[in-house]
């Protein structure tokens, strides 16, 4: 294992994060605060509680998941797209690194950044509402698993994309709708029966549900199903990344 290479890539990516600190940290804090003002106050004044949890507290896990998914995908996709775009990727290819090391460096850094953002949102939420965390260990596990899995997914997008439009299209047209329809702001039990069924096809539902369960013991679907869903997606991403590096797809001509 080329540990120095993993460390080099990781440090390089984290330095990039530091250079864009404002945009990396300030924007999620701001948008979370806005969500609280808009959803928490405006809607929360009508829906006082969901299954015994105040509406403000209820949306916290969903809000964190939302940012976690967006951040992971955008950090990781940009992280690998950029060296492809500028051409500096030649150095990665010419270095004695295996794909496992490349992925560990890029995905590790992207996941780290989104976990930091998640924690900041959690802290920011404290300013607005009180909440508790019933299963802290599982909460952390969900946080890490989701960050890593979606960073992997972002990494794949970054390799697949050969222009900036393609880089944006999946986050914009797939991730965003799925997260907003993924039960971040409501319990799926509030939906009409048919939609409750359809919504179960949305993988984000499982993530939000599992994550919320680790806070409040409240779940739309079983925790096992949530864990299985995230693990399944993780494996799928790993397989895809392995295939990309084996074939050199979009990486080497």
């Amino acid at each position: 294992m080329n540990w120095y290479a993993i460390a080099a890539i990781y440090k390089f990516e984290m330095a990039r994060t530091r250079r864009t600190l404002m945009q990396s940290i300030a924007s999620p804090v701001l948008s979370t605060s806005l969500y609280f003002v808009v959803f928490g106050s405006a809607i929360g004044s009508r829906i006082t509680s969901v299954e015994g949890v105040s509406y403000g507290a209820f949306i916290i896990p969903g809000l964190i998941m939302l940012s976690l998914l967006m951040q992971s995908v955008s950090n990781a996709s940009f992280g690998i797209y950029f060296p492809k775009f500028t051409g500096t990727i030649y150095e990665i290819h010419s270095a004695p690194v295996s794909f496992v090391e490349i992925v560990a460096g890029y995905v590790g850094a992207a996941a780290t950044k989104s976990v930091i953002v998640g924690v900041i949102i959690l802290a920011t939420a404290r300013l607005f509402v009180d909440y508790r965390i019933a299963h802290p260990l599982l909460m952390v596990a969900f946080l890490l698993l989701t960050a890593i899995t979606f960073s992997l997914f972002g990494f794949i997008i970054g390799i697949w994309a050969d222009n900036f439009e393609k880089l944006q299209v999946i986050p914009l047209l797939v991730i965003t709708p799925l997260t907003f329809l993924g039960g971040s702001f409501y319990s799926i039990h509030m939906l009409p029966p048919l939609w409750q069924k359809i919504t179960l096809l949305n993988p984000v539902v499982y993530l939000v549900s599992g994550f919320r369960w680790s806070f409040y013991d409240l779940a739309d679907v079983g925790v096992g199903a949530s864990l299985a869903a995230i693990a399944g997606f993780l494996v799928a991403c790993l397989v895809a990344v392995g295939w990309i590096f084996r074939t050199g797809y979009k990486l080497k001509s």
């Binding site: 120095y4 330095a15 500028t86 030649y90 150095e91 290819h93 004695p96 295996s98």
Partner: protein, 329 residues
């Protein structure tokens, strides 16, 4: 100072490196070809052995396949059929062993604009699996006149400085083989000179250097051996001197004592050219030919009463040879 024996190993090393019989292969390319995804065949099967410690120049016109060949050896482009070994290690199966030996300065100027010089060079060392060694990075940066710029962001540097940064990155992990892909294209005179000095120093320290260049005089000056590639085909590989000798034409120039108005009819059987002011007579001959004709020419000149005050010869440049070679295909 009291120990002249300190010089001895260098001398030995040098003798060994320049002895044509001692072939110690570093890179062995066997039957390597390459067809890009679009169906374009960039390399026809190539056999090439690079010897330890030599400077090897790969010459060829644009699109000949130089970058493709280098990129495959370095791991940037997937190989086609055939095999490549570096120090006996296969570049695909045993890529860690081969890549950690190789430093690459690619043709295109691609750098991380936002990073500082120091960070980007240290990054390269880490990427190649080596622990930090600030003293080495410092030495490399000093050698390349980059030390004063170490804390500057790369985007603030001039093109020449960026090129130096790319060389520094390639040297960060102390490679034993260095590839320079058109290192002097678009580079100013000062940097070019610095670069060649560096290349010589590296070679003296035992590094094998493979370069491609459009400045063919440089290959002629620098390279121990030259490979000529055209349309993906390696046409020939020769000692630079042998190539010059084998294919070289020489020019004999006579500085005349008294200007001539025209070449006398008695000398018309010689390929002679008279300079515009009539003070220089140039004779072109083939070094390979059994008779150069010089003796006869000098005799006939004397007979015609033409006196000259100086005489000089000039070897044709590799460029001329090269153009001939490529044209004859």
């Amino acid at each position: 100072m009291r120990n002249p024996a300190g010089c001895l190993p260098m001398t030995l090393l040098h003798t060994e490196a320049s002895a044509p019989t001692a072939v110690d292969p570093v890179i062995v390319v066997k039957g390597l070809d390459k067809t890009y995804a679009g169906g374009f065949q960039a390399l026809k099967p190539i056999d090439l052995t690079i010897r330890r410690g030599e400077i090897f120049a790969l010459l060829g016109p644009n699109g000949a396949g130089k970058t493709t060949l280098i990129s495959i050896i370095c791991g940037i482009v997937n190989p086609g059929n055939g095999s490549i070994t570096v120090d006996g290690h296969d570049v695909v199966r045993d890529f860690r062993a081969t890549r950690s030996r190789i430093g690459l300065v690619p043709q295109e100027l691609t750098t991380d604009a936002f990073e500082t010089v120091w960070n980007t060079v240290s990054f390269s060392r880490g990427l190649f699996g080596l622990p930090p060694k600030p003293a080495h990075i410092e030495q490399v940066l000093r050698d390349l006149s980059l030390w004063d710029k170490r804390n500057n962001r790369i985007m603030t540097l001039s093109g020449g400085m960026k090129r130096r940064v790319m060389i520094a990155k390639a040297l960060s992990h102390e490679p034993s083989v260095l590839f320079l892909d058109e290192p002097t294209a678009g580079v100013d005179v000062e940097l070019r000179r610095d670069m060649w000095n560096l290349v010589r120093r590296l070679r003296d320290s035992g590094v094998t250097i493979i370069l491609t260049t459009h400045y063919i005089e440089e290959a002629e000056d620098m390279a121990d051996r030259v490979g000529v590639i055209n349309k993906g085909e390696l046409i020939l590989v020769e000692q630079t001197a042998t190539l010059m000798h084998k294919l070289g034409r020489k020019e004999l120039t006579l500085q005349l004592h008294d200007p001539l108005a025209a070449v006398p009819a008695s000398l018309s059987r010689y390929p002679l050219a008279l300079s515009a002011d009539g003070t220089e007579l140039t004779y072109t001959y083939d070094t390979q030919a059994e008779h150069t004709g010089i003796t006869a020419l000098l005799g006939d000149l004397a007979a015609a009463g033409i006196r000259f005050r100086d005489i000089s010869t000039r070897q044709n440049s590799l460029e001329e040879i090269f153009v001939d070679l490529v044209r004859s295909r």
